[in-house]
């Protein structure tokens, strides 16, 4: 990049949150160029969120703590001016689409910042209209926030941040709570703003496969190492966190590292790398249906379900078996969560029958089902209340009338060192595993997980995958409802694809994935070979 104008600069900043010993940022220096799309990434706890909040003064104004060094944003000093004053220079969009709305109606929400700035009404109307237009959400203007989907909410939040016409828009993991399609909608909107208006965008994200191709530069932050900044392909080649495509590129020595399937396909065509159909190793053989007893399956027979005058599931037949890991996939509103709740007896089918490990959910009490099945909700924080990890385990065991124990369980989930720690002090990934441990402590024969990888980085995901694989190998029934195709490719033996309340595809993960365009992993899209759907597969093929 040539000598473009610097819009924001951070010089030797060290910052410590109040009441902590280790600084969240140490001697940090960064220049942001005008009009660039900067992707911020790194392992959890490396200070990404802290960095993003430096630009508008939320750090240190909102959080307190000690700060040294100099920050300049568009010629202003956020530390001196504070977040309120900086709001016309820096717009900020947060992770949780639900917890950043101050108004009920979309139009009011967008006007909120203008009202605070005391902008007169005629100008306000114009600005609100522009913001709606820029995000193509004119159709949403009169909607209530509670009726919007996650993706729509995030676009409204971006419009609300844009309305004061800031120089920079900063987004803190804006898509981590969204399904792939909604995430794409949000990112497309951002790319358009960046290209059409020359808006500077700073965005942090865990799922690099979604964004890396849009970024001009990438910043990688590690906990105890200096940050790495540069062109995305260059940075990816140096860091441990990389999307599957880049990992394969590294394995096969492709240079420059491909960021899109299109770029990577060229390498595939050039190289002689090829694997025959015989390469499918450890073919996760599915158990023959007839052999499995009802005590080891969850079966749905002609299940109909609807609420609020809307049919969610119609005439569903399905059998989930123990000993294999099943991923339930499908778009938002396809009926995934309803199906989990039906299996757990939290919802009752309108017609048909569900047999969960021998209990007919229509008649079985919740107590009875709770003894058979464990359930990990989307937000692990719904479960966690005790002041230590061990306390969570003890609680479940007491509730099931079991003697206190759990050392082995914690060890198998890699949580033994946190035994006495307060779950609230742990990272999202660790909390997710504590919730899993808390559920497993009841010795249930099956575990159902709803969207387990929300907000996890690659390393945390690896840890979760390992834990769930071990459970599957123990012969437990593992069922996860997820959007995360990479997770499903890595973990699942079997994929069930739901669409509009019906099973669209059901079969071995390899077959379903290599046959689908949308619900397909990056590697599967690249090779279009059922033998190659994960980085591991490629690795194995090379070593063969």
């Amino acid at each position: 990049m040539k000598a473009s104008r610097i819009v924001a600069s951070i010089r030797d900043v060290t910052y410590r949150y109040p009441g902590t010993e280790h600084p969240a940022l140490r001697d940090f220096t960064l220049d942001v160029e005008d009009g660039e799309f900067l992707l911020v990434t790194g392992i959890s706890g490396a200070g990404k969120s802290t960095l993003l909040r430096l630009f508008n003064g939320l750090v240190p104004h909102f959080y307190g703590g000690e700060l040294s060094g100099a920050i300049t944003v568009d010629g202003r000093d956020p530390v001196a001016e504070g977040p309120g004053e900086m709001s016309d220079t820096v717009g900020l969009v947060f992770q949780d689409p639900e917890a950043q709305f101050a108004a009920d109606i979309v139009e009011d929400e967008i006007a909120f910042a203008l009202e605070n700035a005391g902008v007169p009404l005629p100008t306000m109307r114009k600005r609100v209209e522009e913001a709606l237009h820029a995000l193509s959400i004119e159709g949403l203007r009169n909607r209530r926030a509670s009726t919007l989907s996650g993706g729509e909410r995030q676009r409204v939040a971006i419009a609300a941040a844009l309305v004061l016409q800031p120089k920079i828009v900063i987004l803190d993991e804006p898509t981590s709570q969204l399904d792939p399609q909604s995430a794409e909608d949000v990112l497309d909107a951002l790319v358009k703003l960046n290209k059409d208006l020359g808006l500077t965008i700073i965005l942090s994200e865990h799922r690099l496969e979604r964004v890396v191709q849009h970024a001009d530069r990438m910043l990688y932050m590690a906990q105890d190492a200096p940050p790495i900044v540069g062109a995305p392909a260059e940075v990816l080649s140096k860091v441990p966190l990389a999307p599957p495509l880049a990992q394969v590129g590294k394995l096969l020595g492709w240079k420059p590292l491909p960021l899109t399937i299109k770029e990577a396909r060229r390498f595939v065509e050039l190289s002689a790398f090829d694997v025959g159909p015989g390469a499918v190793e450890g073919n996760k053989g599915l158990e023959a249906e007839s052999k499995v007893s009802p005590q080891r399956t969850i079966s749905l027979r002609d299940v109909w379900f609807g609420y609020g005058g809307r049919e969610v599931l119609h005439g569903l037949n399905l059998e989930i078996r123990a000993g294999e890991i099943t991923a339930l996939m499908g778009r938002n509103g396809a009926g995934k969560t309803s199906m989990l709740k039906l299996m757990l007896g939290l919802l009752k089918p309108g017609r048909g029958q569900i047999n969960t490990l021998g209990a007919i959910t229509k008649w079985a009490s919740l107590d009875e089902i709770a003894r058979l099945v464990g359930y990990v909700p989307q937000q692990p924080d719904l479960l966690l209340f005790a002041d230590s990890v061990q306390g969570e385990i003890d609680f479940t065991r007491r509730a099931h009338g079991l003697a206190p124990d759990g050392a082995e369980l914690l060890a198998s989930l890699g949580l033994l060192k946190y035994r006495a720690a307060d779950p609230r002090d742990l990272s999202v990934g660790e909390r997710q595993r504590v919730a899993l441990a808390a559920v497993l402590a009841g010795n249930s024969r099956a575990v159902l997980l709803d969207e387990p990888t929300r907000g996890l980085d690659y390393l945390q995901k690896e840890a979760l995958v390992a834990s769930l694989r071990a459970l599957g190998a123990e012969g437990k029934l593992v069922l996860l409802a997820t959007h995360d195709v990479e997770l499903a490719a890595q973990l699942a033996d079997r994929v069930v694809l739901l669409g509009d309340g019906e099973v669209i595809a059901d079969g071995p993960a390899r077959d379903v994935m290599s046959d689908s365009l949308i619900f397909s992993s990056q590697i599967s899209k690249l090779f279009r070979n059922p033998a190659l759907i994960t980085v591991e597969d490629v690795e194995r093929a090379i070593n063969r």
């Binding site: 900020l92 101050a102 009011d108 709770a370």
Partner: protein, 385 residues
């Protein structure tokens, strides 16, 4: 997309409707009238549904289930259940009246003794009047735009109104979250048997609520909620406090004067008026200093005029009857100690039925705003980048 989402009516006309419907529920104690109010309230609550359907997302990815509504529904169901229990208990514990139905053993405290039809019907009317209030309130809140409502507070109270509006949106979210926590913990084997068993439900609820509030506070801060220009009033905060204290002091003194100087009520009234004036004046001065501006001046459409007139009509009829013939509004089997036919006045009946007017008025004036909207849109298109 011509329909205004939640704001089917202007805040002002909608408030007038609330007052007239509430008068209907509170001034009458007659099963016919109360039933009419309840039915009218429920009609209004569901009456906009034909248009609500159009608010569904065009993309089709939005779940039709609105958690806010679901939370409210849960709350209403709990209230109704409570109401049923209380009514039954009350009906059984009133032993007055001629028509004894059966007798409960005297050993049972409170409810032991003869159970009379008069007592039961008295309790039932009580329940009905609470139902009527609930139905009216449910209808009001379903279609009220709380945000607009709270933002129509005077400028000096703007901050307070805004914070309250945010707090209100928190309530249903909290109810939904609580239900989710209960389900998840129940599947973990948790049962509530003692008070201490509530901890696994309360702690996640509170910590989640805290986190949410922090996120929201941060998001509001980042959009200039507490900009410095807001605080730089020319008047010192001490002056504002003094003005409010003086006003409150005067008003309270006035109240006390009623008791101390019963012979001179004018002195008390004078004091109270001066106090209120002082408070209003202080607020006005503070409001003038506020640099905040407001986005939406309420749109007053033709249908708002119609609704206001209807509401005022209802109020006039109700108040007239209350003043000249209060007995027509009431039915009191306990006072007369016998069951009799409740009176029914057709004019009052029509007036109370008119409470159900909003959805019909709304249907009669559909495309009213469409033209204006498209003109406004054209106008701004010129400015768009």
């Amino acid at each position: 997309m011509w329909n205004k989402g939640a704001a089917e009516f202007n805040v002002g006309s909608w408030l007038l409707w609330l007052i007239s419907a509430m008068l209907g529920a509170l001034l009458t104690r007659n099963p016919f009238y109360l039933l009419l109010v309840t039915v009218a309230g429920l009609l209004v609550k569901s009456g906009f549904n034909s248009s609500a359907g159009q608010r569904g997302a065009p993309g089709g990815t939005v779940s039709n289930e609105d958690p806010t509504r679901r939370g409210f529904g849960l709350f209403m169901r709990a209230v109704l259940l409570l109401l049923l229990v209380v009514t039954l208990f009350k009906g059984l514990s009133i032993h007055i009246g001629q028509t004894a139905l059966f007798t409960l053993p005297e050993q049972i405290p409170v409810i032991g003794g003869p159970v009379t039809l008069e007592g039961l019907s008295f309790a039932a009317i009580d329940a009905l009047s609470i139902m009527a209030v609930l139905a009216v309130f449910a209808a009001f809140s379903t279609w009220a735009d709380y945000y607009a409502l709270l933002r129509s507070t005077p400028a000096a109270l703007h901050q307070a109104g805004l914070i309250t509006s945010i707090a209100i949106t928190f309530v249903p979210q909290t109810v939904v979250r609580f239900a989710e926590i209960r389900e998840a913990q129940a599947l973990r084997g948790h049962r509530v048997r003692r008070i201490s068993d509530l901890i696994p439900l309360i702690v996640p609820l509170l910590s989640g609520g805290m986190e949410r509030s922090m996120n929201l506070a941060e998001a509001m801060e980042a959009r200039g909620f507490s900009r410095r220009s807001m605080d730089s009033h020319r008047i010192a905060p001490v002056a504002v406090q003094a003005g409010l204290a003086l006003g409150l002091g005067l008003a309270l003194t006035g109240g006390a004067l009623f008791a101390l100087l019963p012979s001179a009520p004018w002195a008390a009234w004078l004091c109270i008026t001066a106090g209120i004036l002082s408070i209003v004046l202080t607020m006005w001065v503070v409001g003038r200093e506020s640099k905040r501006s407001r986005y939406r001046r309420g749109v007053w459409r033709e249908r708002d005029t119609v609704l206001s007139l209807v509401s005022l009509g209802i109020m006039a009829i109700l108040i007239t009857y209350k003043l000249i013939a209060p007995a027509t509004l009431l039915y009191d089997p306990l006072a007369r100690l016998r069951i009799y036919m409740p009176p029914f006045n057709p004019l009052l009946g029509i007036a109370l039925l008119a409470i159900a007017a909003p959805p019909f008025i709304r249907m009669g004036w559909p495309g009213q705003n469409r033209q204006k909207k498209s003109e406004a849109a054209k106008e701004v298109e010129g400015y768009t980048r």
